[in-house]
């Protein structure tokens, strides 16, 4: 599994190098395009501030009051029986509902348990690997006026379950359990 970490490390420099060379060959004004695209990054980062403030305050309050710990202790036996750390359960539950809420939870988990802990890594992979099913459903179907969704919600949520299981299995295999 050392090999996988090596690919992870080398992947981004190779990708960036390729994008730059390809852009130069195609005579794109690389630096100017970079700056133009980068401006959008600032907009995105600033626009998520209110989402994260709202969600992190709620999570921090929930945690500081001791309510989160009580909840964890309550669900822990059932979750550990199936091999899921209880700490990750709130993230799993909110992931299909709201992307920014999940982002808040992920950063909270990484802050509290450390990015290189089992929970930190699992939260990272979970956040990166599933998407906000309800959001996609509402926005995409809402925008074009689809009223009867058919099996879409069922299929989307089942796919999320597959994604969550895959994330847990892959993290355990690559980094080892806790």
């Amino acid at each position: 599994m050392e090999f996988l970490s090596l690919i992870s490390l080398g992947f981004i420099p190779v990708l960036i190098g390729f994008i730059l060379l390809y852009g130069t060959i195609k005579q794109v004004p690389t630096y100017e395009s970079f700056v133009e695209g980068g401006k959008e990054g600032i907009k995105i980062a600033v626009s998520i501030i209110p989402f994260l403030v709202g969600m992190l305050v709620a999570i921090t309050v929930f945690r500081a009051s001791g309510a989160l710990e009580a909840l964890m202790n309550w669900i822990r036996p059932a979750m550990e029986a199936i091999g899921v750390p209880a700490e990750i359960v709130p993230l799993i539950l909110i992931r299909p509902i709201s992307g920014t809420a999940a982002l808040g939870m992920t950063s909270d988990l990484i802050a509290v348990y450390g990015p290189d802990s089992f929970i930190g890594r699992l939260a990272s992979v979970l956040q990166g690997s599933t998407d906000t099913t309800f959001y996609v459903l509402t926005v995409y179907f809402g925008a074009v006026g689809i009223k009867k969704m058919g099996d879409a919600l069922k299929v989307g949520l089942l796919a999320d379950v597959v994604g969550i299981i895959a994330a847990i299995v892959v993290v355990v295999l690559v980094f080892g359990a806790q």
């Binding site: 490390l9 970079f34 600032i42 995105i44 305050v57 509902i97 998407d131 926005v139 796919a159």
Partner: protein
């Protein structure tokens, strides 16, 4: 739904604190949480600017279009109801590529365009067609090559190796994508057996 969860967490936290004697911690938590969120967003700026800048180069050099051409034969098999040269196919592909590179904001308008085209293909009906359900399933389980925000958060909290989760994320998303396609097929077959 998020609204209820949000209010629930805050109110339950307050009530719990009253019985638990942690009201002081909760007061501190309000300001700590807010501060943490802003610090985090400021930390995200660096990598978002860098990555979106890179992606703009990839877009303008035609690299993203090249990728969609590469994936076309594969995606065609997943959407047997969509004619190969129909504009819907183009939008579906660009949406998937944008998702792969963590360009959520660019992906959404493309996805909506794809849905519009799929609706027209379906005779403008207000019920979801087979391809629409497939597109949605693929979208919620999309393959992620660079989980930009996650890497940024890990950097923010001093990870020894912020990018070590790239390959695990890629593997997990490939599995969930395959799962989504199979689940979608299963439900489609069930529908067509019934109807």
């Amino acid at each position: 739904m998020v609204n209820y969860i949000w209010v629930f967490m805050t109110i339950v936290g307050f009530v719990f604190a009253m019985f638990n004697g942690t009201i002081e911690e909760v007061n501190k938590a309000i300001f700590d949480g807010a501060k943490e969120a802003v610090t985090l967003c400021i930390g995200l700026i660096s990598i978002l600017v860098f990555w979106l800048g890179m992606m703009r180069i990839a877009q303008e050099s035609g690299l993203l279009d090249l990728l969609s051409k590469l994936f076309r034969p594969l995606v065609k098999r997943v959407f047997p109801d969509v004619p190969t040269n129909h504009p819907a196919m183009g939008y579906i592909l660009s949406n998937m590529i944008a998702n792969m590179f963590g360009l959520g904001n660019a992906a959404t308008p493309l996805g909506i365009k794809a849905m519009e085209e799929l609706k027209q293909l379906n005779g403008g009906k207000n019920s979801a067609s087979r391809s629409m359900v497939t597109f949605l399933a693929i979208n919620t389980a999309s393959i992620t090559i660079i989980p930009t925000t996650v890497i940024a958060i890990r950097m923010n909290y001093n990870s020894a190796s912020p990018t070590e989760i790239v390959v695990p994320t890629l593997i997990a998303t490939i599995i969930s994508m395959l799962g989504a396609v199979m689940i979608d097929r299963y439900f489609y077959n069930r529908r067509s057996r019934k109807g």
